[in-house]
Chain length 247, copies 2
C-alpha cells in the first residue's frame, strides 16, 4: 500500500482504452468514503466524458491536451447547494452562504478527490490534477452549469497510462515536517534544503531553457508570477462572491 503511494506520478498521456462505467462508479463510491465535515458531504463531482463538453472545458484549462485526450474529466466542486435546498425543504434555516462554509466544503472536496486518485491508481489508472481550476472557475461554472453555492476547486483527468513518466523529486522531509512547533529556517538551512534540486541536471537544464539565472526565478518570473497570482486572486474572490460564499 505504501508502495502504491510511493510510486505515484502524474500521468498526462493516456491510451485509447475507455474506463468501464462500473469500475468508475466503484472508484467514486470509495472516494465518497473519505472523511467529511459533519457528514454533510458538501461536495459534488462532475463526470465529463462527452467530447463536445470537454472541448468547451479546455480553454479554462489553457487548452492543456489532457482534457481532450483523457477518457474521463472529473471536476470536484465545493457544494452547499444540495444541503441548503434540503434544509429549506425541512423547515430549517441554512447558513452556508459564507467563507467558512466554503472552506469546510473545499476541504471535504479535496479529501474525496485525493481518495479517488489513490483508488484509481490502485486499479492501474493514471491521474493528473489541473491547478487551472481555481484560475478559471468562472468559465468552468458556465460550462458545467453550476448553480449558486457550487464552486469548482480542482479537476482531475483520468485514463490508462500511455507510458510510465519519470517521478518528480521531493524536498528532504525536514523542509516540510516540523517537530512540536514550527522551526523557522536559517539561510544555511534553506541552501541545504534546495541543494539537491538546484544541483540536478534536470533543473539546471530547466533554468537554461527558461533563460533565467536561478531556478527560483523560473517560478517567480514565468510559472507563478506575482502579477498572475494577483490577477487570479481577484478573479477567484469575485467567483466566491458571485456564487454566494463571500459577502
Amino acid at each position: 500500500m505504501l508502495d502504491l503511494l510511493n510510486q505515484h506520478r502524474t500521468v498526462r498521456k493516456y491510451t485509447d482504452q475507455k474506463i468501464d462505467p462500473e469500475l468508475l462508479t466503484k472508484l467514486l463510491e470509495s472516494a465518497c468514503r473519505a472523511s467529511n465535515t459533519g457528514n454533510m458531504q458538501a461536495y459534488s463531482i462532475i463526470v465529463t466524458t462527452d467530447t463536445e463538453i470537454k472541448k468547451q472545458l479546455a480553454p479554462a484549462h489553457f487548452n492543456q491536451p489532457m482534457i481532450a485526450q483523457a477518457p474521463v474529466v472529473l471536476t470536484f466542486c465545493a457544494d452547499f447547494n444540495l444541503f441548503t435546498k434540503w434544509c429549506e425543504q425541512r423547515q430549517a434555516n441554512p447558513g452556508y452562504d459564507n467563507f467558512q462554509s466554503f472552506i469546510a466544503s473545499a476541504i471535504d472536496t479535496l479529501l474525496a478527490a485525493q481518495t479517488f486518485c489513490i483508488a484509481a491508481e490502485s486499479v492501474g489508472l493514471g491521474i493528473c490534477y489541473l491547478g487551472t481550476t481555481t484560475y478559471n472557475a468562472r468559465e468552468i461554472i458556465d460550462t458545467l452549469q453550476l448553480p449558486k453555492l457550487v464552486v469548482p476547486v480542482t479537476t482531475i483527468t483520468v485514463g490508462y497510462p500511455d507510458g510510465l513518466p519519470e517521478q518528480t523529486d521531493r524536498l528532504p522531509l525536514n523542509a516540510v515536517v516540523h517537530t512540536e512547533t514550527y522551526h523557522e529556517f536559517s539561510s544555511n538551512e534553506i541552501d541545504a534544503i534546495y541543494s539537491e534540486k538546484e544541483h540536478s541536471e534536470f533543473y539546471k537544464q530547466f533554468v537554461l531553457e527558461n533563460q533565467k539565472e536561478t531556478l527560483a526565478q523560473v517560478f517567480t518570473d514565468i510559472r507563478y508570477s506575482k502579477v498572475n497570482n494577483e490577477f487570479f486572486s481577484d478573479k477567484f474572490l469575485t467567483v466566491l462572491k458571485e456564487q454566494g460564499f463571500l459577502k
Copy 2:
C-alpha cells in the same frame, strides 16, 4: 486497496501504544509523494507529541479529548514561507502573499493530509480530522509559532484504534455525482436522496435527543449554525490577512 478505503471510519479513541518514529517518518514520506502545485510543496506538517503542547492546542479544538489522548497530533498548514524565503535568497521576486497562493497551497496541504491518512490506515492506525482548525486558526498559529504565510488548514489525530467504531452512512451516489454537467435537484429528488438517512433509527434518535423537528434543524440550529459560520468566517478571513495571504 478499495477495501481499505471502503472500510474507513473516524477513530476517536486510541490505545496507549505509541507510534514508532521510523514508521511515522515513512508515512510522512508517503504523504509527501502526493501531487502538488508546480512541485513547490507549499505546505508544512507540524508533528506534536509533547503533552504540554497538546494541552495548549486543546482549547483551539474545543477540548475534544482526541488531542490529549492521541499519541500524535498533526497540524497540516498551507505554507509559502519557506518557498518565499528561498526566492528572496535567489534574486527572485516572490509573489505568494495573495489569496490564489493560499488556495493553491491549501489544496496541496489537503492532498498530503489525505494521503497520510490512507497510509496510516493501511498500517493499522486510526485517524480523526478536526474541523475546528479553521475556526481557531489564530490560537493554533500562536501555540505552534507559525510565521507569516503559514496558515493551519486541518488537524489529524493519529493512534492505534481502541475498538472499531461504526461506519457512518453516506448519501446515494447520485447526490454528489453528476453526469456531463450539473443536474439541479427537484424537490422530489431531494426527498429521495435524504430518505434513507431520515428514516434511520440512528438519526431519528439524534433528532429527538436534540429536541428538534427535523434532522436538518439539528444542523442549522445546533451543529453548523448561520451565526457561528458567520462568526468563524470573519475570524478566518482576519487570519488570512494577518498571515499575509489577503490584502
